[in-house]
Symmetry: C2
Subunit: 147 residues, 2 copies
DNA sequence: TTAAATGCAAATTTTTTGCGTGATG
DNA sequence: CATCACGCAAAAAATTTGCATTTAA
């Protein structure tokens, strides 16, 4: 993973190393803001722009998967950067990896049928997680933050 | 469709009727901006806020499917508001419905396995459409606009 | 006439960009 | 000393909100 960065000729600075670590250590699919907070615990002067820049680098080398949202901040998956299904709680905004589902059609079949040169796929399931269901009818829960 | 609005107790004003018409008449998955332009051709004083408001109403009654993007504007599908796969060209930003693919797992199976109460699904394939491939190597094309 | 619909403009939020400084090889 | 990393602040872009006015049941 670090090798990919080296290949690209970009330096693995301490800040970037920490960002990589945060990304890989978390299975919570953190947002840029959350990554920023974590990195700042070790490098308090780190700016948001640097986080965005570094994530851009990682996206280019396919080392992080970006999960886009319009209203809210994008979320990032540094553990399984290949496209895979996610389970998204619409209440607490938790995002989980969903291992059980494999999309039926391979990209090649769709490519052949449509003429598109496919580069990526996104499959997300939206719902209410068990914890939020249990809490239902009671008061709302604040969206989660990193531990 | 209009009945759904009536049931909800909201008025079907001329602007809203036009917006519905634009939404259903187009298979291009227009953005709010594009819808706005179209509606303005008939009601020039229409504001963007009204478009956003009305789309919010339609979302609540499940009459329009929102396709979220972070960088760009969201796109809307008023023809097939049920979740279904889309084919998205990353160059010209065209969005097509993809009929051939049916996600393998029914929501119920995933619900049972995960404990989530699922409400929606999103499946998108990203690639370069045949037209943009043909143009490749040449100059870039401007993103499409409504006809 | 009472409530809903709307226009307008300001505010919010996320992400991008420009520029100058500083670190590093 | 030349390049890349970075902080800072401003800029962009999409969406939401507050408020006053118009429309309409």
């Amino acid at each position: 993973m670090r090798a990919s960065l080296a290949e690209k000729g970009v330096a693995l600075t301490p800040r970037r190393a920490k960002l990589l670590e945060v990304l890989v250590a978390s299975d919570r699919h953190p947002s840029v803001g959350e990554i920023h907070e974590e990195v700042r615990r070790y490098f308090p002067s780190t700016s948001l722009a640097t986080i965005y820049n570094t994530i851009e680098l990682l996206k280019e080398t396919g080392q992080v998967l970006e999960i886009e949202f319009s209203g809210a901040a994008n979320r990032y998956d540094g553990r399984i950067p290949q496209a895979h299904p996610h389970l998204i709680c619409v209440e607490c905004e938790k995002i989980e990896d969903l291992e059980m589902v494999e999309p039926s059609e391979p990209l090649e079949a769709i490519s052949a049928a449509t003429g598109y040169r496919l580069v990526n796929r996104r499959t997300d399931y939206y719902g209410v997680c068990p914890q939020c269901q249990a809490r239902e009818g009671g008061q709302q829960q604040a969206p989660q933050s990193l531990p």
